[in-house]
Symmetry: C2
Subunit: 204 residues, 2 copies
C-alpha cells in the first residue's frame, strides 16, 4: 500500500516536471496534459543499468526527470567513448535508430539511479498527430539539441585538451561535480589519468 | 527584360525545390504554399562570398536551392576549421545566434556560386505561428540535423584519420567530388597535405 502510494506520488512529481518543461515552450490545458501523459510510461533504472544496447533497435525516447543518462559506443580498442549526457529535463534517444528502426550503434546507460518518462516511437507519432502543438515543443527541443551538438563539434576542433575540460567546467560546473571523473574523461576523449593531471595542475 | 524574366524563372524553380522538400514531410495546398513563399527572399552569393561573419548576429536561415555553403570558424592558429556543409535542400544558419540574437562565433560562406531562399528569424516566427504545419516540417529538419551531428561526433572520436576520410567518401561521394580538397581537409581536421597523402595511398 505504501509502495503503491509512493509510486503514485512519484509519477505525479515526474509528470509535473514534464508539464513545466512543456509550458516553457507551448500552451496546454490541464486536460490536454492529462491526455498527453497517457502516452508515457514511468521507468526507473539502477546505476549502470542499460536502457539500450548496441545492435538493438531504439524504440523509445527518454525524458529524464531525475538522474543522469549517458550515450556511448565502444571504439576499436574496446574503450567506451561517451558522446552525450542527459540530466533532468533533457531528452535522450538514438535518433537514427528511433526514426528509421535500424539497429543502434550506441549504448544508453544510467550513470546513477535514474527516473525517466518513456515514450515509444509509435506512441510519439500518435501523440504528434493528435496534439500538433507537440510538434512545436519537439521542434524547439531538437533545434536546441542540434545547436548544442554543433557547439560540441566546434569545441572538439578548436580547443586544446585542457581548454576543452575548463570550458566544460565553466559551462556545466554542476555536471562535472555529479558525473564520475572517468566518465567526464570519456566524454572529453581523455584517459582518466590525463584528466587527473589537468585537475591537479589547476589546483596547484 | 530578359534578365527580369530569367530572375522570375529562377525564383519559380527555387520555390519548386522548397515545395518538393516540404511535401516530403507535410501536406500543404498550392494556395498555402504561395503564402509561405511570401516569407522568403531569393538571394545569390558569389563563390567565397560571406553570408555571415563572426561577431555579426545571424538573422537569417538559409535554404540552399543550388550550390554549397559552409560554416567555419578560425581556430587559435588562425586556421579555418569547417564544421558543416549545406548542399541543395539543406538548411544552414548559426542556430544559437539565430535563436538568441547573440553575436555569432561562425562564418557562413558560399563554396561555389550559391542560390538560397532566405528567411529572417522574425519572418520564421511569423510563418510558424501562422502555419503550424511548418512546426512539423522544421521538427523533422532539426531532428535529422541533430542525428547527423551526433553521428559526426561519434565518427570524430571513433575513427582514425584515414577511416574518417573513407567514411565521408563512402557516405557522400558526390560531395567529396564537388568540394575543393582543401575544404574537405578542413572539414576532417586534416592539413591539405595529409589528405593528399591518403588519397595517393588509396589510388596506388
Amino acid at each position: 500500500m505504501l509502495l503503491c502510494s509512493n509510486l503514485h506520488h512519484s509519477k505525479k512529481i515526474m509528470s509535473e516536471i514534464l508539464k513545466a518543461h512543456l509550458q516553457k515552450f507551448i500552451t496546454i490545458t490541464d486536460e490536454e496534459f492529462a491526455w498527453i501523459m497517457d502516452y508515457f510510461e514511468v521507468k526507473t533504472f539502477a546505476k549502470k543499468q542499460n536502457l539500450l544496447e548496441e545492435g538493438q533497435i531504439c524504440r523509445a525516447n527518454f525524458f529524464v526527470t531525475k538522474g543522469i543518462l549517458r550515450k556511448f559506443h565502444l571504439n576499436e580498442k574496446g574503450v567506451e567513448q561517451t558522446t552525450e549526457f542527459a540530466i533532468e529535463t533533457w531528452w535522450m534517444t538514438d535518433n537514427i535508430s528511433f526514426e528509421h528502426r535500424t539497429p543502434s550503434e550506441f549504448h544508453i546507460q544510467a550513470v546513477e539511479k535514474t527516473e525517466v518518462l518513456v515514450i515509444t516511437s509509435e506512441a510519439q507519432e500518435q501523440l504528434l498527430s493528435r496534439f500538433p502543438v507537440m510538434e512545436k515543443y519537439f521542434r524547439i527541443v531538437y533545434q536546441r539539441a542540434f545547436a548544442a551538438s554543433q557547439n560540441r563539434v566546434k569545441y572538439i576542433f578548436s580547443l586544446s585538451k585542457e581548454e576543452f575540460y575548463f570550458n566544460l567546467l565553466k559551462r556545466h560546473p554542476e555536471f562535472v561535480q555529479r558525473v564520475p571523473q572517468y566518465l567526464v574523461a570519456s566524454f572529453l576523449g581523455f584517459t582518466p589519468e590525463y584528466l587527473s593531471e589537468i585537475r591537479k595542475k589547476s589546483v596547484s
